[in-house]
Symmetry: C2
Subunit: 248 residues, 2 copies
DNA sequence: GAGTGGTCTAGACCACCGC
DNA sequence: CGGTGGTCTAGACCACTCA
């Protein structure tokens, strides 16, 4: 090719493909436009479909493509900034914050979460598990599981509907009566569990950004939340970083 | 099988494999232990190697496995928490903060970064680019490219070594003389560029968490940093979240 | 039913590591 | 040098969407 570099370390085909297609996306395609199908693309580049797919997978990982089974591959819009600041010292569910309460149950608590909540592993203390979906521009971008020990919301009326959105909102309401002293937050890469994937309109195993939050009140952990954000479409922002953008 | 659920939606083999192997990791293996090689494992589970690899890839993505060409697949230690709080209002390079200044050049600035810096795209204003590596327990966990417009550090002696670690430290030193008014930060998923991959001891294209930071001083953007964190080994923490842990 | 992306196979060769 | 994971091929079938 026209490279000035000695090909002493030949880069993998899929890597080169990714670069070529990535550049084509910038110049020849508009957001939302449909690419040729994988078989055609593979033939056009003279590679096996598996190799072509490896390149597309990376581009999808970087948020540049969107692939949907039965439909096709489209050029993705820029990632949306989703604010997850810890500075605004607020309980979840306060005011209108783009979350939609889905449900509330008393499901089992993962051991790792139980440890964060300082629960006695043997006691099997009751914990409310609130399920919420975060929407941006009408699209679901995150699913959250919020764990609230019953001891954190002692005044919660037991009579209320035992489950459903109303119950979830009741738990959030009770939580907001406590004094929030701080939040600790962590972000890491994960893959979507089956239930999260369904609500985020993705396939199981899709890459997600897992946001773990610990809510502190009265010197103890009053609640723990496990947020699952679509890694392909989301950019998590802290502070007024709504216009910070990508680079990969 | 013994499932109570109708197998109306059969899960993919690799997904099932991932679950089985993941459970085996918890019970039968210790951190650092070497797994059987891929050909043996595939044969043992009665699947093609490509399918087995798909399962291993996911487990690696979740930080549970570590694979090295020529060596083998080992059980990964838990992810290390890396603090990236924005609250401690500090310039980069202040005191001992686990970063090692590598180099400083006057390389070209990506268009996206130039926009963040409010640079005139036509003017080609000079920008110092500082390269740093972040170490944790002696292991590199992040590579950073810091863009500092020359106008932000006017007093930087032009006479000093034009490149190298000393130059990098000089730029950081000058930066610290400014009043830091705030930082905006964003986190998103990316794939490692070739140079980042080399310094992080990963293959190009490995998943990384890209942390974009904008440093504000005197009402303008004084510097922009692009941090690339290993997604397999890192958990980014905000606040005292060092002991928050995984779930995926 | 036609066309898409998702899964899976059974091979092959290559790049890298450590002995 | 042998053994490891990484790349690549050329097929096949399946699950899904939409006209």
């Amino acid at each position: 090719m026209g490279t000035t570099q000695l090909e002493s370390v030949p880069e993998p085909k899929y890597w080169h493909l990714k670069t070529v297609i990535g550049e084509a996306l910038d110049t020849d395609f508009a957001v939302g436009e449909i690419l040729p199908n994988e078989r055609d693309l593979a033939a056009r580049f003279g590679v096996a479909r598996a190799t072509l797919r490896q390149a597309l997978e990376q581009l999808e990982l970087e948020g540049r493509l969107q692939r949907r089974r039965g439909v096709g591959t489209t050029v993705a819009p820029p990632r949306v900034g989703v604010d997850v600041s810890t500075t605004q010292h607020q309980w979840p569910g306060t005011a209108e914050d783009n979350w939609r309460a889905q449900d509330c149950a008393t499901a089992d608590v993962p051991a790792a979460v139980a440890r964060l909540l300082d629960l006695d592993p043997a006691a099997a203390a009751p914990v409310h598990t609130v399920r919420r979906i975060r929407l941006t521009h009408g699209q679901p971008v995150a699913a959250e599981q919020l764990y609230v020990p019953a001891s954190s919301v002692p005044a919660l009326p037991a009579i209320e509907a035992p489950s459903g959105p109303a119950r979830a909102r009741a738990v959030l309401r009770e939580l907001q009566r406590l004094t929030l002293e701080g939040q600790d937050r962590a972000v890491e890469l994960g893959s979507a569990r089956a239930d999260d994937a369904r609500e985020l309109d993705r396939l199981p195993g899709s890459p997600v950004l897992v946001v773990t939050t610990r809510y502190l009140s009265a010197g103890r952990t009053a609640a723990v939340s496990l947020g699952t954000y679509r890694a392909d479409t989301c950019r998590l922002t802290f502070g007024d970083a709504g216009d910070l953008q990508i680079a990969s």
